[in-house]
Amino acid sequence: MNNKPVIQLKGVARDFFDGKQKRRVLEKTDIEIYPKELTILSGPSGSGKTTLLTIMALILSPSEGSVIIKGEDVTDLPENKLATLRLKNYGFVFQNAALISALTVMENILIASTVQGGSVSKLLHQRAEDILKRLGMFEYANIKSEKLSGGQKQRVAIGRSLINDPAIILCDEPTASLDVESSTIVLETLKGLSEEGRSVVLVTHDPRVFPYGDRLVQIEDGKISSDTGSQIND
């Protein structure tokens, strides 16, 4: 391997309590995520892929096992420190973009950098403009995000994920409900981001996405059923 993993999950499992009994939705799992790699987590609905993604995202804490980010064990860090870690190291692209509809395109991008406080510097604003230009969305900077099409919203969501220059970008069904053309633009953009050196992890059950991945991890019944392994880092 020529790269160290940015995310390491060691023996990670997750239980949920449904009000009557404890149910294990993710069996003990070991997985490492590397830079410069687009990893696809795929599987049927309820297989545990989003649970795995949210554990990687430091949003859900594992019931067992440990989460290591850039070599540091963060499993038992308090909630506030995990939030700051997310802010500095992660970018998120949610299903249906999940932009804040009250804000403009530019504000949606800037809020991701200032959500813990602080003002918008000229440098930050310039960076947001550059990102929007790169994604072909600059002319929409001052438009309310709710007025954009699905594909445009997802491109803005990618822009939002990039504002803090994160090492890791986590995507949850980013092409769901997008047409083929929009899906292609989104996937090519994400592929390009992984080639720049970022780790991109993408949850999907859309097989059209698979060709863009460097690694395909299949999850079924809360377990990794197959993993093509790292194509770049092996």
Binding site: I59, E79, A83, I100, L103, I111, A112
Partner: protein, 373 residues
């Protein structure tokens, strides 16, 4: 950035935002106008005391408001007049009168007689005529606000008060009392109207010289006049107001209305802000996922509460000012002391924060994982 985002997220749900603002406006306006009327009535209750210009009042003992005072000997005035430190001591006559109108009806009035030529405690604001009208032997004043009640008398018109003749010699402006309207006159005419002998008066009003301590003078006068009550003007004013508040049900009535208006306002703020947060659950979850801590989400909702408070206070006080402006010269008592709007605004901000606590609790409880659902 968070400030503008907070504002935009608030007004993106226009109906709920306006609902919350309406809650604040309700608190400011409804409570404010209730307080204005209450303070207006309070000022009426002790108007003659507050307007007297005296530092100390001498009155009969064992009475808890000046209106219920009996009579005291005129000699009290002579006994205190020579005391070092007194600038003036003037007797006044206060009593009830029944005014017979041109149309044959009767109206209750309060008669206030003051001694010529100083006319201490007499009217200070006039619509027509001047205080010189009281120098006239049978002259009385009526107030502009009472003209309609008194069948529109004019200067020179003759009245029958307690079956005795009186003549309108001036029309005052804003000289309002609590127990019927006030008719000012000179002390001789007042004695005649209320049938008080010349060796009696209702009260003696004392003004102390500059540099004399009022409380020390009060104690000294009390020693000189052990059978009378010597009381400082502010205390008599407060005592009179308290008497009416406790004995007329005005205090509890206004208090209850104020409490109800406050509760309604807080409930409206709570429900609408909570609904706003509920409608924005996904947005807050996304912010949490992006890296917002609970305190950051709390800050955003707190800011929204502040925006609602500020806008609501502005609109509420604008409406309240209009209310005060348009009722200024009406029969409706309305008056707010200068400090009341400040206290009212600060109290409303606190109520707004209180009203937003449910919304805040809801917002911080939103899990970032919700963004993935």
């Amino acid at each position: 950035m968070r400030r503008s985002a907070s504002l935009k997220m608030l007004f993106h749900e226009r109906a709920t935002a306006l609902g919350s603002i309406a809650g604040v406006v309700a608190i400011i306006f409804l409570v404010g106008q209730q307080l204005a009327i209450l303070f207006g009535l309070l000022s009426y209750m002790s108007f003659l005391v507050d307007n007297s210009g005296a530092d100390i009042w001498i009155k009969t003992q064992n009475t808890n408001n000046f209106n219920a005072s009996g009579t005291i000997p005129m000699s009290y005035r002579d006994r205190v007049m020579g005391v070092e430190g007194i600038e003036w001591a003037e007797p006044v006559v206060i009593g009830a009168g029944l005014v017979k109108l041109k149309n044959g009806n009767f109206q209750a009035a309060q008669i206030f007689g003051t001694r010529r030529p100083h006319l201490v405690g007499g009217p200070t604001r006039f619509y027509q005529g001047s205080i010189d009208g009281l120098l006239d032997g049978e002259g009385v004043t009526v107030d502009k606000l009472d003209l309609a009640t008194l069948d529109f008398p004019k200067i020179g018109d003759i009245f029958e008060i307690n079956n005795k003749r009186a003549r309108v010699t001036a029309i005052t402006q804003g000289m309002q009392g609590f127990s019927g309207f006030i008719l000012y006159t000179n002390i001789e005419k007042a004695r005649e109207l209320v049938s008080m002998s010349t060796d009696r008066c209702s009260n003696v009003l004392i003004k102390v010289k500059d540099g004399t301590k009022i409380e020390e003078m009060r104690l000294l006068l009390q020693q000189i006049l052990p059978k009378a009550e010597v009381i400082a003007t502010p205390k008599l004013s407060k005592q009179t107001r308290l008497y009416y508040l406790q004995n007329t049900g005005i205090g509890s009535s206004f208090g209850l209305t104020t409490i109800i208006a406050t509760i309604v306002g807080v409930v409206v703020i709570s429900l609408t802000m909570y609904t706003n947060v509920l409608n924005k659950t996904k947005d807050y979850a996304v912010l949490r996922a992006l890296g917002a801590r609970k305190i950051d989400v709390l800050y955003i909702v707190f800011l929204q509460a502040m925006y609602i408070a500020i806008i609501g206070i502005f609109v509420g006080f604008t409406l309240l000012s209009m209310f005060l402006f348009f009722t200024k010269d009406s029969g409706l008592p309305s008056y707010l002391p200068w400090w009341m709007p400040i206290v009212h605004a600060l109290g409303t901000i606190l109520l707004c924060i209180l009203g937003s606590t449910i919304a805040m609790r809801r917002a911080v409880s939103i899990e970032p994982a919700t963004a993935f659902r």
